[in-house]
Amino acid sequence: MSASRFTGGVELATGIGLRSPHYRHILSEKPTVDWFEIISENYMVEGGRPLEVLDMILEQYRVVQHGVGLYPGNCDGIDRDHLKRLKRLVKRTKTPWISDHLCWGSIDGSMSHDLLPIPFTFEAARKTAANLRMVQDFLEVPLAMENVSSYGEFNDSEMTEWEFLAEVCELADVGILLDVNNIYVSSINNVFEPLDYVNFVPPERVAQIHIAGHSRYERFIVDTHDHPVVDPVWKLYERAIERCGPVATLLEWDGRIPSFDEVWTEARKSETWRESALAKKGTDAAA
């Protein structure tokens, strides 16, 4: 696995998202899993069931925090109370890095609870990067930004999504959580070549990769995380590993969640793709 300043020097292999239908199995059977990813907002509370189960998981497993409510693209800045709650959770989990989405989601205190798309403008890049610098300084833990699935493009955009991702992460000096399923979803909805995206991302910044399934409709794809990973996404994953090295990989499965074993088996398919990607990389280097 690759360790970098964007992972706090920690090397992790295959993980899965920690979801409530699996708690009982995990606590009783203690399956061998390298790490779990938690949705921070489900545990940014004062007590009760969420912290109770989290503490039990933390006794046995490495946990990495992944957020859905930071909204670094918000034009009116970052919510300070949110950051304080997040930092308190960071102290509890000792997460080696923390990730959230390159998106916006609220205005004047009203929350969408969605990962809304940012127009890819230079103004948005500067403002988002300034927000992220402040967040990283406050949290004192490496931060990685995830590319979101998108369902449209703004008239005002001045660059491609992959250029925007790279621009923001360079300006803010943060890592990237590369979601190859999101790239695929957006490539169908917004009609672009997904390999162009993967080939452009600065590999040294990629701290983690997400894989997931989605729902395909007649003319678009929705990022539902309720199916196995499809072959085109595995191929993007293989290419991403070829470029970035053996990055920590996590499977998200959030809808119609099957048994723990089924989710874990799906996640472990990544290991085969990873090996083939690293073999290709080795062959290319030798040539």
Partner: protein
């Protein structure tokens, strides 16, 4: 090119517009055959770039419907008894009006219903009797949500009761309701009984489940004083509307202690790392932990 702030304001305003057409018909809201409003279509044309796959209005609608789906799914999950008592038509009309008037103001959807009781008390689409009952029931069901994630402080040992500053466990919610809304839990439909001021406590019990019970009005006053922080002596320093008997007080204290309601407020250090009681993982219902996620809801094409 418009400034980022303007883009975000216009986009958010579009999300908050009422659902129409097929998107609306994918929810439990009263169906409508109306298509998008001219205002929605204008915003879509102004904001979104026509693609070879999706038109601007289709792009914006994919976000619009997810906004509504997510909020409606969440709030229906949090108020099951209100839904049953109000009936489907009234419940969903109330939820639509509420979400329009009171957008979420918290990082978590668990708090989406925070203002529902106050909103319902003023909602003029139902008669005054229903307003009182439904608002009280909303307050009661939200209390069960509050205690799910509230802090737990160290319980005060009996031998320290007279010597330390006492507090009320944060996961105990005290309610003074104008009607006995707790009765609704056993009803299949709305069948109001005599209205009477009703005092309830809702709390998290030792197994981590929510519990509720009626409490005496004087007990309510004493527990409210405990919530503010009080020594044992100060708890009884001010007179109450009725002087409780020593036997009553002894019985209340025994209950409060058995339920671990009397607690020590945390120090600044422990406040940053909340106490969590470890319980067995046997039959615990964990399902409400996952309120937030990054996934979209599956939908009709």
């Amino acid at each position: 090119m418009r400034p980022l702030e303007q883009t975000q304001r216009e986009f958010f305003a579009a999300l908050q517009m009422p659902l129409r057409g097929r998107s609306r018909n994918s929810t439990d809201l009263a169906p409508s055959v109306e298509g998008h409003s001219p205002e929605f279509l204008a915003k879509a044309e102004s904001l979104m770039k026509a693609g070879s796959n999706l038109l601007p209005a289709e792009q914006l609608e994919l976000y619009h419907r997810q906004y509504w789906f997510r909020l409606l799914d969440s709030i229906a999950e949090d108020f099951p008894t209100l839904r049953k008592i109000a009936g489907e038509g009234t419940f969903w009309a109330l939820m639509e009006a509420y979400v329009c008037a009171c957008p979420s103001a918290s990082f978590t959807l668990r708090h989406l219903g925070r203002r529902l009781a106050d909103f319902t008390a003023e909602w003029e689409e139902i008669d005054a009797t229903r307003r009182r009952w439904f608002a009280a029931l909303a307050r009661l069901e939200y209390a069960h949500m509050e205690i799910f994630e509230a802090a737990e402080w160290e319980a005060v040992p009996p031998e320290q009761l007279a010597s330390v500053e006492l507090g009320l466990q944060p996961h105990v919610v005290l309610l003074e309701l104008p009607v006995p809304a707790d009765l609704c839990m056993d009803w299949d439909k709305f069948m109001p009984e005599a209205e009477a001021l009703t005092h309830l406590a809702v709390w998290r019990n030792e197994s981590g489940n929510s519990a509720q019970c009626r409490i005496d009005p004087i007990e309510f006053v004493l527990l409210s004083r405990l919530r503010q922080g009080s020594s044992l002596a100060a708890l009884f320093a001010e007179p109450t509307a009725r002087e409780p008997s020593p036997e009553e007080v002894a019985g209340w204290f025994a209950n409060w202690q058995n339920r671990r309601w009397i607690a020590l407020a945390p120090t600044a250090e422990t406040e940053n790392f909340p106490v969590v009681s470890q319980r067995s993982g046997g039959d615990i219902d964990w399902s409400r932990v996952d309120k937030m996620g990054s996934q979209a809801r599956a939908m009709e094409d």
